[in-house]
Structures are given as C-alpha cells and as structure tokens.
C-alpha cells in the first residue's frame, strides 16, 4: 500500500494524497512521461485508458479515453500548466471530449504532483483542487435546484387538485 497520508480540506476544496515508492524520482517520473506507462495506471482495471495526444509541456495537452467493459468510451483531458522533470507536474484534469469542457457530475480539478527523493525511493504528493470554487458551487447549486424543482412539482400537484 503506497499511500501514507490523505488530507481533505472541505473549505479549501483540496485533497492531498502522499505515497512512497521504492524507486528513484527519475523512474517514477516515467509513469507520467511515457504514455504507454501512463495507460497502465490512469484508468481503473475495468476502464483502461488509451492515451491519444501526450504533450507534456506547459500549454500542452494530453487527451485520452477510457474504455469500459461494454466498449463504452469516456474521454478525458489534461491541460499542462507547469513541468519540471522529474520533480513537479501541474495540470488541469477534466472529463469530457475537449479540453475545457467538463461534465456536470465531476468538475475539473487542478493537480499538482511533486516527486521528492526519499532515501532509495520517492515520496510523491498529489494535491488535487477544484479548478474554481465557482465550478463546485455551480455543481452544488444544481443539487439545490433539484430540490427546488421537486418542491415546484408539489406546487403543480397542488394547483391540479
């Protein structure tokens, strides 16, 4: 179990996970840098990822799709913001067909990946943050609207009686 620590901050809307690996940073970096290695861990076993574009430079884009058991496909993308091999990678991480587009259920997140040499191994932290509080508010407000719609449905029913 590589995960050594998980922190969630509900106010700042961040989740930070720390893991330790028995390999030096240069080796761990490859799992990000090499699209064929990335494909082996990004998607869950039931939905393996196929990387289409992979441009790990600031401003670059990574696109991929995950394929489900029925052949159903789920596209996703990264927009690269900062790269310092083999120590730091920052990207916006979203679901949807095109960079910038997201689906309502899961707004895009900003991921900051840090790799630090730790004895013979590497400590990697991934800080994941919702791209904007507004994005999350929108999602949450939609949930609230759903409740309001149900209440309005009751008004309809009342008017009909």
């Amino acid at each position: 179990m590589p995960v050594t620590d998980v922190r969630k901050d509900l106010d700042a809307l961040t989740m930070t996970v720390t893991a330790r690996f028995e390999a030096p940073p240069a080796r761990v970096w490859q799992v990000w840098e090499d699209p064929r290695q990335l494909e082996r861990w990004w998607g869950p076993p039931t939905h393996p990822a196929t990387v289409v574009d992979h441009d790990l430079r600031p401003g670059g884009v990574v696109t991929y799709h995950m394929t489900g058991p029925e052949g159903d496909k789920y596209p996703g993308w990264w927009r690269i913001q900062a790269v310092e091999a083999p120590h730091r990678l920052e990207f916006e991480d979203g679901f949807g067909a095109e960079p910038g587009l997201t689906t309502a259920e899961l707004p895009s997140t900003l991921a900051v990946v840090r790799l630090v040499e730790d004895g013979a191994g590497t400590t990697m932290t991934i800080e994941s943050r919702f791209a904007s509080p507004e994005a999350l508010r929108t999602v949450l407000a939609m949930g609230m609207e759903e409740g309001l719609r149900q209440a309005l449905g009751q008004v309809d029913a009342l008017l009909a009686t």
């Binding site: 809307l13 893991a19 991934i126 509080p133 949930g143 449905g153 008004v155 029913a157």
Partner: protein
C-alpha cells in the same frame, strides 16, 4: 414528476417560504457563500452594504426555509449551508480520494516490475465515439 395527494398545507407553506427566501438578491448571495464556507453573521454583515440587524433578518428567513443552518457558538452565531449540500462536497472529495488511491496502487505495481515492459497494451479495436458521462459518476 412528483405525484402528490391530499395533505396540502405543510408543503405549500414550505414552498412559500422557499420562494420568499430566494426572491431576494442578498439572500441568494448568502446561500451561495454558505454553500462552501461557514460564516458568522458579523462576517456576512461585513460583505453587504447593510446593517447587522438587516443581515440577521435575511439569515432568519433563509433558516426558516431550510436553506441555511444557524448555530450558536459562544457569543457568535455561525451560518452554514444545507448539510445535504455539504455532504455532496464531501462526497466529491471522497471520490477524488478513491480515484487516486487506485491509481497509486497501480503505479506501485508497475514500478515493482523489474523493467518497464516494452510490449504494447492489448487494446480492443476502437470506434472513437465520445460519450459525455463519466465512469466514476454513480447516478442516483
């Protein structure tokens, strides 16, 4: 569609309160703020060009409608969003955690292999029709 019968009054009053509560721009703003953060009435009053008493009244209307929850803590009155909405925020972070735990386990397994294996992953033949739902979104 909600099929609703008979017992009119309680839900009609609830809807009235909800409409009334959301019919005001300041109150809508307070709802948006408290959805993802907790504020004291004093802090809220500092954000609007109106008196403490006026903000307190707005908060009371929202609390009546169940849109915010008031809590007295010491001498302060704290205001936060609907617990259901907060739970949803927590769920989103939990989903992120589960996602990354799985990925980190798979990275560890990959690194355990002696060398990065050069054989390409056996992918199924593709027909690239993008869909817009996510595999992690468990719909209710």
């Amino acid at each position: 569609m909600v099929v609703h019968s008979g017992t009119a009054d309680p839900s009609a009053q609830r809807v009235d309160r909800l409409f009334h509560a959301l019919a005001d721009a300041t109150r809508r703003e307070i709802v948006a703020l408290t959805l993802v953060g907790e504020y004291s009435v004093t802090e809220l009053a500092g954000r609007f060009p109106m008196s403490f008493a006026a903000v307190q009244k707005h908060v009371a209307v929202l609390a009546d409608a169940g849109l915010v929850v008031k809590e007295r803590r010491g001498r302060e009155q704290r205001v936060r969003g609907d617990p259901d909405v907060l739970r949803e925020a927590r769920d989103l972070l939990d989903r992120l955690e589960a996602l990354w735990r799985g990925r980190l386990d798979r990275i560890a397994a990959l690194l355990d292999e002696a060398l990065p294996s050069p054989d390409p992953p056996s992918t199924t033949p593709t027909s690239t029709t993008p869909t817009s739902t996510t595999p992690t979104g468990d719909h209710r």
